[in-house]
Structure formats: C-alpha cells, structure tokens
C-alpha cells in the first residue's frame, strides 16, 4: 500500500537520524538540538520582532519524541507538523536580520520572480521564501540534508493515498496570504491551487512536462480538498509534490495578472517579499500571519547577490554574513575561521562525461568503460575535496539508501570500472579495435564556474592518457544548453553536471529516459546504443518507479545502478560534497539542501543576538 511505503520510509529515516544526532551536524549544540520541531510559541504572538525579544518557547520537540509522534499516526495520512512534547533547553530569541548570499558562489540574479516561468534554481530559490507548496520536506535536527522522501504538510494539513494512483490533500483552513496588494491578506483557497496548477502547466517548462507526465488531473472536490489522479503508480509522487521546482501555490491575482504583477510575489510562505535590487540583494520580512504560529523567528532576511569567494569569506569572517554555501575547494580558506561551523552533505548533482551514442567509437560500451577506467577519481577527490567528504557517483547521485556506492561492498563485479586502471582501459580499447584518436573536441560550458572547470580539466587529462587527443572547446551556456547538453555534437566528448536529483526514479527518468524532456546522451531516442533502445533497462526503471514498497524499491534501484555500470551511457566523475558554513550565533540551523531553503530551513532558525 502507498501508505505503508511512506510509513516505512519515515520509520527508517527517523531511526537513522537518531543515530546521527549530534554527529552529522557538527556545529549545532545540544541545546539547540532540543529546539527542533518548534511548532508553536505561545508568547511570541505578541512580539513584533524586537531584535532581542525573547520568547518563552513551550513548543519544541526533541527528535526522538517527534519520531514517536509521527510513527504514532500509523495511518495512511501524513500530518502537517509534530505536536510539541518536550520542554526547551534554550530560549528562542526573536528578531534580528539574517544576512547571507542567496546561493553562494553560484549566486546570480533571479531571471524572474515568477517561478513557473523558468526552470532554474535562481527562480526556485526566491520562491522558497514567499510561496507555499502542498507539501514540504521534513527537516529535523540531525536529518539528512539530502532526504527528500520524508515530507510533511505545507499548505496541505494532511495527505493520503487511498489507492496507487490517487493522492488526496486536505488543505489547512485559514491560511492567509501576505497583506500586500493586490491580494491583501485574503485566505488561500482551492481555486488558487487549481489556478496555480493551470499556470504551471501552461508555462510548458521542463519541470512542468515532468509533472504532466505523472499527474493526470488535479481537482478540488470541495473547498478544503485537492485530489490528484496520477497517470501511473508513482513511488516518488509525494517527493515531487514537495519539490520546489514544481507546484507552488500562487494566488489567482498573481497567476492571472500581467507580467509586471507576476514579478511582485505575494504568497503565504514564512517571508514577505520586500525588495529585489538586481546584482545586490533580495530582502524579505517576517510574515506575522504565517500559519506555523510563531515562525519565523527572525525579523527579516537579506540575501546578497554576491558570488565572489573572497567577498563571501570576508563577510563570514566579520560576522556580516550569518551563513553561506561554500565550495569544498575553499575548505582550507575557511576551516579556521573563528565561529564558523561547517556542514557537509553528499552531492546531489549528477554529472560526468557524455557522448553521442550513435557515433563510433562511443557507441561501443567497452570504449565508454575504458574512459571510466581512465578517470582518476581519487585524484579529483584530493584536488577538489580537501575535507574528503565526497564520494564517487554511480549512475545516480548520492540519494541516501538508494545510492549504491561503487566503493562499497555491494556494488558487485562492475565496481572496478569506477577506479583508475589504465592497463585494463587499454585492454578494453584494444578489444574494441580503437587506438589513438586525435582531433576530438572536449566540450563544456564555463557557466558552472572555476571549480567545475578544474574538474573538467582533470577529466580531460585523464582521458588524454588513453590516447584520445582532445582540444578544449568552451561553449557559452545558451548554445550549450540547447545543443551539446542534449547530446548534439560530433567528434567530441562533453562533460558537465546534468541534474539536481531529489529521487532516484526522477533522476533516472530525467537524465536517461527517452521520454524525458532532456536526453543528455546523444543519438536517436530509440537508438540501440542508448538507454532508449534498451528494453531491459526501460523495464527496470518502470518497475522501480512504480514499486511503492520501500523495502522492495531500494534493491531495484541498486540493480539499475549495477546494470548501468556495464552500459556506462554516461561516465560519472567524482562527486565533491556540498559545504555550508554558518556562524555559531545562528541557532537551530538544520540544513536541508533544497531550493526551498527559505521555508524548509530558515523559518526555524533564530539568532543568538546577544552572543
């Protein structure tokens, strides 16, 4: 049953969190750990956010208790929040301004503040501050920053899956939009959800196409209920519903407004949009009417649109910034910064070397395997991951228990393909009848920044060791995104990140499936050389995404990774970890690596302004 799937998954996640508590997130003190799960705050309603006002918090739940509460529901439904059951050990301080780069060194101007318009993190991340979704990712202390399967109600109070292709969301009552024109603080209603859904689909973006492939209809049988009918049994549907790249709930005044109206967001999320100064900052203020009573704790958020690493580090050093995403390549520059706590998470952005699979010699899997054998992933780790917190990728990125580590004991006979072995690589090339090749292009886009360029350079040097003489060909993003990214190139190898994965099935479908909007591997969609022509693989993927029992789904996904090691349609490089630094005065910082950071993480963060 679908409910068993989610209950089972939830139980597994919480038990693992308990084990990781106090270890995974090194900088969070025991006192602030106990604050996780804050759902209510009796006294802070009267507080307008004075900078050092202190709330007598009575609404905190320790993780273990929260586990019990969530498991205790034991039904097909998911609930909005855990009930408070534990006394706090530290008082939440209200107020203060949270100041940090919007993203980190990958910051840029949002191309739009209307998230349906464009599929990009720069549009999704701001939306995560001011808009709500049906569901959101559950975020507790010690939780896995890459756990996207554990979800909870956001605008929906609860949800259930009465059968394999139906999901029913019971909406919270009395959710108010921000008191800003043209919406002026009215209640969120089912019409907004329906209109948002229509607007999302009408935008015809890649993510809308992904959603449309799964969602057959979205209806409102009554004012408080949203019913979704799926096109097929789909295990990661709730993850998709919580995804900040998909269905935001935007008021009809905005979805039905003109372009200028759509660029002035008015939502129901924890933060009220105040201003966007391109190339400088985005500012939000606390939503005093937020439906999670008492949250958010801080007065406002100022997200700087800064991406220069020196500027970011200097502002962390001076406490101007409270936190920032950082690249692990900067580790040695920040590891000794006073009061800076570092959080590491595995890499969710799968990427590697990809090919035109209809072109010789890349059509031969032995050649692709040889390229994988040429990659010095340990060297990449040494060069780009000084803290050594990353891992090799398999065919997917590091998605919790779904990920099968090539260096682990269970990968099987093809694990050797992920370790450098030039002798074996040459033997494979010889067997494939391939000797030295010259005049090849080594294609990538510089848009991903200097650290990625360094990674691409290491890969290029490794491949050259096979006798493949490649010339660097940088392609500007506009062309790259529409041609090379889709495998449209000849006499060349391409390299780059491909997808920010939140679920293995979504990842496998998006990156490799012929029905996906993108197919980074080149060649015909149904080419016998590619995944589109491999019926066995197509069946495996279909089976894994429709398997609603987590216990059964994990091994299916593992089998796919073992199978794909042999095929090597894309040769993955090393996955450097994500690294985030936050200052010690920032409390309750339970990081979720999500585009909806503003809601999932920041609504519960508070500042020790007296520190």
């Amino acid at each position: 049953l679908p409910s068993e799937y989610w209950d089972s998954l939830r139980r597994r996640r919480f038990s693992r969190r308990t084990a990781l508590r106090g270890a995974a997130i090194t900088g969070v003190g025991a006192a602030s750990i106990a604050l996780v799960g804050c759902g209510d705050d009796d006294d802070d309603d009267d507080d307008d956010g004075g900078e050092t006002a202190t709330a007598t918090s009575t609404a905190t739940a320790a993780p273990a208790t929260e586990t019990a509460t969530e498991e205790g529901t034991g039904t097909a439904t998911g609930t909005a929040t855990a009930e408070p059951t534990a006394e706090p050990t530290e008082e939440v301080q209200l107020g203060g301004i949270y100041h940090a780069p919007l993203v980190g060194i990958s910051t840029g101007n949002p191309p739009t503040l209307y998230p349906f318009k464009v599929s990009t993190y720069l549009a999704a991340i701001p939306a995560g501050y001011h808009y709500s979704r049906l569901l959101r990712y559950t975020n507790i202390v010690g939780g896995d920053p890459l756990d996207y399967a554990t979800v909870e109600g956001d605008a929906a109070e609860s949800y259930e899956q009465p059968d394999e292709t139906t999901a029913v969301f019971s909406m919270r009552s009395g959710i108010k939009y921000h008191n800003v024109a043209p919406v002026n603080g009215r209640d969120l209603n089912a019409d907004d959800v329906l209109a948002s859904h229509e607007a999302f689909l009408a935008a015809q973006t890649e993510t809308a196409g992904q959603w449309a492939g799964v969602v057959q209809t979205l209806e409102a049988p009554d004012e408080g209920t949203i019913q979704v009918t799926l096109t097929k049994p789909y295990a990661p549907f709730l993850t998709l519903a919580a995804s900040p790249e998909h269905l935001w709930i935007i008021p009809t005044e905005i979805t039905g407004g003109d372009e200028a109206t759509q660029e002035k967001p008015v939502g129901s999320g924890p933060w009220i949009f105040k201003e966007f100064v391109p190339d400088n900052r985005i500012v939000w203020e606390k939503n005093p009417e937020y439906f999670e009573t008492g949250e958010p704790y801080m007065d406002s958020v100022e997200a700087s649109l800064v991406r220069d690493p020196a500027t970011i580090i200097a502002n962390l050093e001076s406490d101007t910034f409270d936190a920032s995403l950082l690249d692990p390549a900067l580790f040695t520059q920040v590891e000794n910064l006073e009061g800076l706590e570092l959080i590491f998470n595995l890499n969710q952005v799968i990427g590697g070397i990809f090919f035109n699979l209809d072109e010789a010699p890349w059509s031969d899997p032995r050649v692709r395997q040889a390229i994988s054998l040429s990659l010095d992933r340990d060297g990449m780790k040494a060069a780009l991951d000084p803290p050594g917190r990353g891992k090799k990728f398999s065919a997917i990125s590091h998605l919790g228990e779904f990920f099968l580590d090539p260096d682990g004991p269970d990968f099987g006979e093809n694990a050797y393909l992920y370790s450098q072995d030039l002798t074996e690589a040459q033997a494979l090339l010889e067997a494939a009848g391939v000797s030295e090749l010259s005049g090849l292009s080594w294609i990538y886009s510089p848009v991903y920044g200097p650290v990625y360029e360094q990674l691409f350079g290491i890969c290029q040097e490794n491949v050259r060791a096979l006798g493949f003489d490649t010339t660097t060909t940088q392609i500007q993003y506009p062309e790259y995104r529409t041609k090379q990214f889709y495998g449209q190139f000849n006499n060349a190898l391409a390299v780059g990140p491909l997808y920010v994965a939140i679920d293995p099935s979504i990842c496998l479908f998006t990156v490799y499936h012929p029905e996906s909007g993108r197919h980074n591997w080149g060649g015909a969609l149904d080419s016998a050389n590619g995944p589109g022509g491999d019926q066995e693989w197509l069946d495996m993927v279909a089976a894994s995404e429709s398997e609603l029992d987590i216990e059964a789904r994990v091994p299916l996904v593992h089998d796919i990774q073992r199978y794909m090691a042999d095929k090597m349609w894309m040769v993955p490089y090393y996955g450097s970890p994500g690294m985030l630094g936050y200052k010690s005065h920032v409390k309750n910082f339970n990081y979720k690596s999500s585009f909806s950071f503003g809601t999932d993480t920041l609504r519960k963060v508070w500042l020790d302004v007296e520190a």
């Binding site: 503040l113 890649e206 200028a260 190339d279 991406r307 500007q476 062309e479």
Partner: protein
C-alpha cells in the same frame, strides 16, 4: 565655437548609429541566439513562435531599423530576460551607479595623479621623482581585481567589519552610499592615476624647458608661480585628452569591481546580457556608453579651446 559644436553634435549621430550597427551585427555572429538562451522558458517545438514574438524572425536590417526607430522615441525595448522590465528602466537604476563610480574614480585619480606628476617633474631624478614614477608603474601594473580582493580580505582583519555590500542610492542615503563606493572608487582611481601621472610629468618636463618658462625663472619669479600660473596650464592640455580617453577604461574596470563590491551597476548587467544574447540590453547599453564617450570627447575638444586660446576649433 558654436558652429564647431553644432557640427560635432551632428557627427555624433552617425557615429552612434555606426557603433550600434557594428554591435548589432557582431552579436549575431556569436553562436546561439536569444531563443536558444531562453531554452528554459521556451517549450520544445515553440522556438519559431517565440522567435516571431521577439521579432527575431525578420531579416536583420528590418530588426535593426525597428530597434533604431523605437530608440529614437526613447524606447530601448524590453529585456528578453528581466521579467518585462524595460531596458530604459534598468538603465535608469544601473547607470547612475556606474557613472558615480566612474566620476569618483576619475576625481580620485586626478587628486592623486596631478600633484604627484607635477612634483615628479619639478624634482626630476630626485628621490621623490623615483618614488612617484615607481608609484605610477605600480598603478599601471597592478590589476584592479587583485587590489580589490586584497581590500576585501584584509579590511575585516584590520578593522573588524567587512566593507559594506548593501547598496543605497546616493540621493536616498548619501552616507551609506559613499561608505560602499569609496573603496572601489579608490581602487579604480588608482589604476587610472598611473597613466595620468606619467603624462602629467612628461608634459610638465617639456613645458618647463620652454623659453617662456626660462624667461620666468630669469625674471626671478617664485617656483610656485612659475609652475601653477605658467607651466601647468599648457602641460595639462594633453592630459585633458587622456582624461577623456579614460571613460571606456573606467567602464571596463567597473565590471569586475562591481562584482567584487556587489554594486548593481551596468557591468554585471552587460555581461549577463551578452551571455544570454539579450539583444535589446546589449544594444541599449552600447548606445549609452557610446553616447557618453562621444560626448566626453566633444567636451574635451571644447575644453581645449578654453585651456589654449591658440587652438582654433573652427
């Protein structure tokens, strides 16, 4: 003079049109077009429709003439990327930032370069001259981005607080604005000061060897009087030309500094527009920059006649 200015103003028009034609043509030689850059907003198979919507399906001359016609009426079009904001609105917000940075940098460079250049000339081959020349070489050789990075890194280590990065408009909060602007202006001004200082020195040395200056010395005038009242005015004429030529340098230099100091000027806007093939923005910015440069050159030429009556503009 009026006739000269009138003729030069008339010449500005074909100059600017020529610049925009060149820019418009050259950006179309780059691989990928604006619709490719909008791939994340354009559904598969909708490319032609979007191309028509943006007017990119028409022949280039027609596109250019349409743009020019609109530009003459003050309509520089709408950015393909910025959510419906017009190019003019963007420029209204960003241009003052870049202009302020440029003016401050130019002012700082003159304050640094002129006294040092003069001092260096009148104390030729003395310790002060060597120091001043070393300073000029350093100003020319040290990249602005390196100085900027040093400033950003070491400022908090020395003074505790980092340099401000929250931008405030000059007319809304002048103090906060100047707190953020003065360091990048100093760095940009330092870079420009090198060449101005060297030219000032060279010109001063040349003028100081002129007969009329020698006569002034022989009449027993004081050094200050000779330098400031007789030599400097003539020495500054080529320097004024050089100052006029610094405008593109200041605009170019501001691109990197705006990024490091998080200033919402034209620089970043232009770079992103280039990457996105955002034709209206690229053309709009080039139109403005070209206009500033040709107007500056005109002002410099007119200033010539005021500094040196021997120069006949007509």
């Amino acid at each position: 003079v009026r006739q000269y200015i009138f003729r030069r103003v008339l010449l500005i028009i074909p100059t600017i049109i020529g610049v925009t034609i060149l820019v418009s043509l050259s950006i179309r030689l780059l691989p990928g077009d604006a619709v490719d850059a909008l791939a994340d907003q354009v559904g598969a198979g909708n490319e032609d429709e979007v191309r028509a919507e943006l007017g990119l399906d028409k022949p280039w001359p027609e596109q250019y003439i349409n743009w020019l016609g609109d530009a003459i009426t003050g309509d520089l079009g709408t950015s393909f990327r910025s959510g419906g904001t017009t190019v003019l609105d963007e420029l209204k917000v960003r241009l003052p930032v870049t202009i302020q940075l440029g003016i401050m940098a130019l002012g700082i460079s003159l304050v640094i370069a002129l006294p040092i250049g003069i001092y260096s000339a009148i104390r030729q081959d003395q310790v002060g001259d060597y120091a001043a020349r070393s300073f000029a070489i350093a100003a020319l050789a040290v990249p602005s981005f390196w100085l900027a990075t040093l400033a950003v890194i070491y400022w908090p280590r020395i003074f505790g607080d980092s340099l401000p990065i929250t931008y405030h408009k000059l007319w809304e909060d002048p103090w906060a604005n100047l707190q953020q602007m003065w360091v990048p202006a100093m760095i940009l001004g330092f870079a420009v000061a090198g060449s101005i200082m060297r030219l000032t020195r060279a010109q001063m040395l040349e003028v100081m060897r002129q007969d009329y200056v020698r006569t002034a010395w022989s009449k027993g005038l004081r050094e200050r009087s000779i330098v400031t009242r007789h030599a400097l005015k003539n020495a500054l004429i080529p320097v004024v030309t050089l100052i006029g030529l610094q405008v593109p340098v200041l605009v170019g230099g501001s691109v990197v500094l705006e990024q490091i100091f998080v200033l919402p000027g034209l620089g970043q806007f232009f770079i992103v527009a280039l990457i996105n093939r955002d034709y209206p923005v690229i053309l709009g910015i080039n139109l403005i920059i070209a206009s500033i440069i040709v107007v500056t050159n005109l002002v410099v030429d007119v200033a010539y006649s005021m500094l040196d009556p021997r120069i006949r503009l007509a």
